[in-house]
C-alpha cells in the first residue's frame, strides 16, 4: 500500500513540474525526505537502496539532468565495436515504477543548506531532510592550454558518456590507414584510472581489424606511470606491435598546448599531429558540489570515511567521483559501493534503522583485445583519516588465454549485475 501511495504521489509531483504551478514539490505527509542529485552509478544506486530498504518510510527524490543514462564504464567497448550505444544506455523508468522514487528530469543549480532545499534551474525548490550529492566530475578545460568546451567538438574528451562518446566513435571510424590518433591523458586524480589505456587498446583494436598497419596511437601523459601499466604494455606489444607509443613527462617534457585548428599537440620535446586528438583534461567535482560549498582546495569533497557524510554538513552526503574517497579510485563500482553505505547511514538518520559498519569494494575490468580482459580490485574500510584499502589484487602478466577470456566474460556479467543494481530490475 505505501508503494501505491508513493507512486501516485510521484505522478502528482510530475504534473506539478509540467505546469510549473507549484513552487515546492508536494510531498507525502510527515515522511522524511531524502533527495539525491545525480542519477549515475552513485546517485541512482543510493536512491534505489533508500527506497527499497526503507519500505516506503522515506520519500525519495532523484534529480537528474539527462532523461537517460549512458554508462562511462563499457563506453570504451562501444568505441571498440563490442557494444552498441543502446546497450550502454539505461532508463530511469524502473526506479519510478518499481521503487516509487520521484525522478525529476532537471538541472539542480544550487543548494540552500540553511533552508535545506535544492534550487532547480527553473526556480523550483526541492526540500530535503537528507541530501546526497553525486554529480560526478566536471572537466577543467583550461588545464590543457588551447582546449575549451568548444574545442571539445573537434578534439573530443568523451570522458562523460553520451554525445561526446558518439562523436569520438564517428571520428575514429572515419580515419584512414596512415592517419594517427593523439591522446592527451589526464593528471591524477581522475575518473576511471585504467580508462584512457583501455580506450587506447580499443583504438588499436579498430585499426588492427581494418588492417591499418601505418596508423599510430600516441599518448602524451602527464603521469610517470599509470594503472595496470605492465598489463596494458604487455598487451599492446603482443597484439598491436609498433602501433602504440606512450610518452611520460620525462620523455615529452611537458604539454605546451593543443591546437584544435591544426590537430597539433605541442610538447617540450616535439609537436605531434593527430588526425584525431582525444584530450582528457584535469577534473574536479561536478559544479553543484562546488556551488553547495562542499568542495575543498582540491576541487573535490571531503567526507567522513565511515558514512560518506560531508565534512561541511551533517545532513549532506557526497558519493562517487565528486568525493575524496581515500584509497578508492573514481569508478562506477566505487560509487555504487559508497552509495550503499550512504543509503544505510541516511536510513539510520531518518528512521532509526540499524547501521552496520561501513565496507567498501571496487573492481575495475579492462579489455585489451577480444577475449583478453584484465582486472584490478580491492576492499576498503574506514580509518580515522580516510577510506583505506585492506586487501588488493591485480591480474598478472603472462596469464593464459582461458583465464583472460574468463576475466572478460566476468566483466560482461558484472556489467549486467551492476546496471541492474543501479537502475533496478
Amino acid at each position: 500500500m505505501p508503494n501505491l501511495t508513493r507512486r501516485s504521489f510521484g505522478l502528482l509531483a510530475g504534473a506539478g513540474v509540467a505546469s510549473l504551478a507549484m513552487p515546492f514539490y508536494a510531498r507525502a505527509q510527515g515522511k522524511p525526505r531524502a533527495v539525491v542529485i545525480g542519477g549515475g552509478a552513485g546517485g541512482a544506486t543510493a536512491a534505489r537502496y533508500i527506497a527499497k530498504d526503507s519500505g516506503g518510510d522515506i520519500d525519495v527524490t532523484l534529480i537528474e539532468a539527462n532523461p537517460t543514462y549512458t554508462t562511462c564504464f563499457f563506453s570504451n567497448l562501444y568505441l571498440g565495436g563490442y557494444r552498441t550505444f543502446e546497450s550502454i544506455t539505461h532508463s530511469y523508468d524502473k526506479l519510478a515504477s518499481n521503487y516509487g522514487i520521484t525522478v525529476i528530469n532537471g538541472m539542480a543549480m544550487m543548494v540552500d543548506r540553511d533552508a535545506k532545499v535544492v534550487v532547480m534551474a527553473d526556480g523550483s525548490k526541492v526540500p530535503y531532510d537528507r541530501l546526497i550529492v553525486s554529480p560526478g566530475i566536471d572537466l577543467i578545460y583550461d588545464s590543457v592550454p588551447g582546449y575549451s568546451a568548444e574545442a571539445a567538438e573537434i578534439m573530443p574528451h568523451s570522458w562523460k558518456a553520451g554525445a561526446q562518446t558518439q562523436l569520438l566513435k564517428a571520428k575514429l571510424d572515419a580515419l584512414e590507414n596512415g592517419q594517427n590518433v593523439v591522446m592527451v591523458a589526464p593528471p591524477n586524480p581522475y575518473r576511471c584510472p585504467p580508462g584512457p589505456y583501455e580506450r587506447v587498446s580499443m583504438f588499436a583494436h579498430v585499426f588492427k581489424e581494418k588492417g591499418f598497419t601505418d596508423s599510430k596511437i600516441i599518448i602524451i601523459d602527464p603521469k610517470e606511470k599509470f594503472s595496470k601499466q605492465a598489463l596494458f604494455q604487455e598487451g599492446w606489444a603482443k597484439y598491436y606491435p609498433g602501433m602504440v607509443e606512450w610518452y611520460g613527462p620525462d620523455v615529452h617534457g611537458g604539454l605546451v598546448k593543443v591546437d584544435p585548428a591544426t590537430g597539433e599537440v605541442e610538447t617540450d620535446l616535439d609537436t605531434f599531429k593527430g588526425d584525431l586528438v582525444n584530450v582528457i583534461p584535469a577534473q574536479k567535482a561536478g559544479m553543484i558540489a562546488e556551488k553547495a560549498g562542499l568542495t575543498n582546495e582540491t576541487g573535490f569533497c571531503p567526507i567522513d570515511p565511515a558514512s560518506m557524510r560531508s565534512k561541511a554538513d551533517d545532513t549532506v552526503f557526497v558519493i562517487g567521483d565528486a568525493c575524496i574517497a581515500g584509497d578508492m579510485p573514481k569508478s562506477g563500482f566505487s560509487a555504487n559501493s559508497q552509495a550503499k553505505v550512504a543509503a544505510m547511514a541516511i536510513r539510520g538518520d531518518l528512521t532509526g534503522s540499524r547501521v552496520f559498519p561501513a565496507k567498501y569494494s571496487n573492481t575495475c575490468w579492462s579489455l585489451i583485445e577480444t577475449n583478453d580482459g584484465v582486472k584490478v580490485g580491492a576492499q576498503y574500510a574506514p580509518t580515522e583519516e580516510k577510506i583505506a584499502s585492506t586487501s588488493t589484487f591485480i591480474s598478472q602478466t603472462g596469464e593464459d588465454a582461458a583465464l583472460r577470456q574468463q576475466t572478460y566474460e566476468e566483466s560482461v556479467g558484472w556489467y549486467n549485475g551492476i546496471t541492474a543494481d543501479i537502475f533496478g530490475s
Binding site: 544505510m344 566476468e410 556479467g413 558484472w414
Partner: protein, 259 residues
C-alpha cells in the same frame, strides 16, 4: 579414430535409432543394409562408449561441484542427474530452477543425447536465463564423452555404498554451517555481492548464487577463503568474511527464488 566418428554419427541423431530402424523396414534391400549398418553401429558403440565414459568421467569433474549423479544423488547447487535421460527440463520438484528453464520444460524440452549436446555446447545460448554458470563445452567429442558418462551413471545408476555416497570428508566451513544464518544481516551484507551477482539469479559470466543449499554456499565461500577456488575477486571478497557473515549470506541468498 574413423570408426569412432562414424559410430558417433550413428549414435547422435535426434531420432532414436530404434525408431529409425522401424521406419526403414518397409523398404526392402536398402532397409536391410541400413539395419545391418545400424547393428554394426550398435555393436561398436558399446566399446566406443567404454572409452568415452572414462574421458567423460574426467570431464565430469567440472560438473560435480554442483551436480550429483548415481544412487543416493540429491539436489545440490544444481539438480541431481539421475533419470536425466527422458526427463522434462526443469521438472524436479523442490529444485529452484530459473524461470527460463521451467519455460523450456513447459515448451516440451526433454533431455536426451541431442538436447544435452546442444545445451552443453553453450548453455546460455540454448536456455537464455539459465542459472547454470557453466560457459560451455566446445569440442563435440568431449560432449559425446560426457553424455556417455552421464548416460551410464544416470540410467544404470550403479549401486554405491551408501556410506561412500555421503563422503565423510573433513568439511570445510563446518563451523559456519552450524550457525543459524541471520538472513536480515545477510541482506545487508549482500549489497556487496549484488554489484556482480544478479538477484534475479541470471548467470552471464558471473555465477548465479540465489537459491543454493546452505552448505554448498558456505563451502564455496570457504573454498575461496582458503584459495581452493581461485577467482581473485572472490578470494579478495571473502578475506574479511567471518563465520557469522558467511552463514548470514548463505541464509539470505538461499531464501531467494531465481527468476
Amino acid at each position: 579414430m574413423r570408426l569412432q566418428i562414424y559410430t558417433q554419427a550413428i549414435w547422435r541423431p535426434r531420432v532414436p535409432s530404434s525408431n529409425r530402424v522401424r521406419s526403414s523396414f518397409p523398404q526392402t534391400t536398402r532397409a536391410l543394409i541400413f539395419a545391418g549398418l545400424t547393428a554394426i553401429g550398435a555393436l561398436t558403440s558399446g566399446s566406443t562408449f567404454a572409452g568415452d565414459i572414462q574421458q567423460g568421467e574426467k570431464l565430469y569433474k567440472a560438473c560435480k561441484a554442483c551436480h550429483q549423479i548415481g544412487e543416493g544423488a540429491r539436489n545440490g547447487v544444481g539438480p541431481h542427474l539421475d533419470g536425466l535421460f527422458g526427463r522434462v527440463a526443469g521438472s524436479i520438484d523442490g529444485f529452484k530452477y530459473s524461470n527460463a528453464m521451467k519455460a523450456k520444460g513447459e515448451d516440451g524440452l526433454v533431455w536426451d543425447e541431442a538436447s544435452l549436446d546442444q545445451y552443453l555446447a553453450k548453455p546460455r545460448a540454448f536456455v537464455p536465463g539459465t542459472r547454470m554458470s557453466y560457459l560451455g563445452m566446445k569440442k563435440p567429442e568431449d560432449r559425446t564423452a560426457i553424455i556417455a558418462y552421464l548416460k551410464a551413471q544416470s540410467v544404470a545408476a550403479p549401486s554405491v555404498d551408501p556410506t561412500a555416497a555421503a563422503p565423510a570428508r573433513a568439511e570445510i566451513g563446518s563451523a559456519a554451517m552450524q550457525i543459524e544464518g541471520d538472513a536480515e544481516y545477510g541482506e545487508y551484507l549482500s549489497s556487496e555481492c549484488v554489484t556482480c551477482h544478479q538477484l534475479s539469479g541470471h548467470a552471464d559470466g558471473i555465477p548465479s548464487i540465489v537459491g543454493w543449499p546452505n552448505e554448498a554456499f558456505i563451502r564455496a565461500l570457504f573454498e575461496y577463503k582458503s584459495n581452493i577456488r581461485t577467482n581473485q575477486v572472490m578470494q579478495n571478497m571473502t578475506l574479511n568474511l567471518g563465520n557469522e557473515e558467511i552463514a548470514a549470506l548463505a541464509a539470505y541468498f538461499g531464501s531467494l527464488d531465481p527468476k
